[in-house]
Symmetry: C2
Subunit: 211 residues, 2 copies
């Protein structure tokens, strides 16, 4: 799993020791669960002294929060770029944000898995921060679907429920995608875009957005 | 969360002490993660001596496997009953198994969450056993969708991908459903049945299965 590449996929203000710790923390959280991994193990495997480790991150919880915040902020940036690059058509916008969402979840599977399985391990304050970021992810989808329904290019009486279904099916890609599987990420992303357009009832009765 | 009710929802061969341990184990795995909870804590909270605890379950891993196997076997039984009770129409069958899947995931949220987040914590042998059961869950959906495509009442070129999307969106209900939320489980189940019918392209061009 490409944890190291993924965590460094964007420029970061963290020094190298901190980055090394985040990479190790991610892989240990994945192997042993958040509660099973210790700061000492993380520091040792990252080649950092325990005192330096606590200098970078006052607690293991800071690492978990950093991992979750970073991947979610990157997802928001990807979604906004995809949406804005797709022009004004709601169907094109929905397809673009679904593609972007799926692509990030194939590239950064480990962080996505930890984000879902260890949210409960964050402090209440940190959890609220991550949940607020996720709400922004959801809002990007809600706005696009609402605009499509308002303009009657989508037909879906349960927009909120449908947005949740789209988000969860796209997020789940992180759980089953395998780099050595039969389909490329772009192919999966394209199919999910079509599935999402079906869910919102895009182009019902017309040709075009759906088969 | 209704762990205690859920675990006892079907007749069980386990003696009461073992059932009490399974209930406590489920709630501790949820709070602390599988690796964070100890046999000693589980025994203590269940009001069972440590030696009795090891008599019921030779290891913590046995409890985790028991929890996962039981909920998955119950899911398979629910799905088969729903399918067989729906008659031969593939759309009615798909709607019925989606409803059954969603209902179980609202009733047994904790076990579903643990089933997803702690699969990695099982031994290879146990994981294979649980994965084989999940494959049976998937097969129920695959067969219904394949039959609908074969009879051309469904229109979906990517049946396998679509089944996965349906399963993941339905499973995710366990993650967000709240008993004090606005919608009853039956309402959610009904909407998900409609979403699934859209995904497979049921009744495309006709009135009926979808709006």
């Amino acid at each position: 799993m490409g944890a190291s590449a993924a965590l460094k996929s964007r420029p970061s203000a963290e020094p190298d020791g901190a980055e090394a710790m985040l990479r190790v923390a991610l892989s240990l959280f994945l192997e042993q669960g958040y509660h099973g991994a210790s700061m000492r193990d993380i520091a040792q495997r990252a080649g950092v002294s325990v005192s330096a480790a606590y200098h970078y991150f006052p607690s293991k919880a800071d690492m978990l929060r950093t991992i979750m915040v970073r991947v979610t902020e990157d997802l928001i940036a990807d979604l906004e770029a995809a949406r804005d690059g797709a022009g004004p058509d709601p169907a094109a916008r929905l397809a673009a944000i679904v593609r972007a969402h799926v692509l990030l979840h194939t590239r950064r599977q480990d962080e996505s898995f930890i984000g879902n399985s260890e949210l409960r391990s964050l402090s209440l304050v940190d959890r609220r921060k991550v949940v607020a970021l996720r709400d922004r992810v959801g809002q990007v989808f809600k706005d696009v679907v609402a605009e499509g329904c308002r303009r009657r290019v989508f037909s879906q009486p349960y927009a909120a429920e449908t947005v949740r279904a789209i988000l969860t099916m796209c997020t789940a890609v992180a759980g089953w995608y395998r780099a050595n599987g039969p389909d490329r990420p772009e192919t999966i992303a394209e199919r999910y875009a079509e599935l999402a357009l079906r869910l919102v009832g895009a182009g019902r009765g017309e040709e075009g957005h759906t088969r």
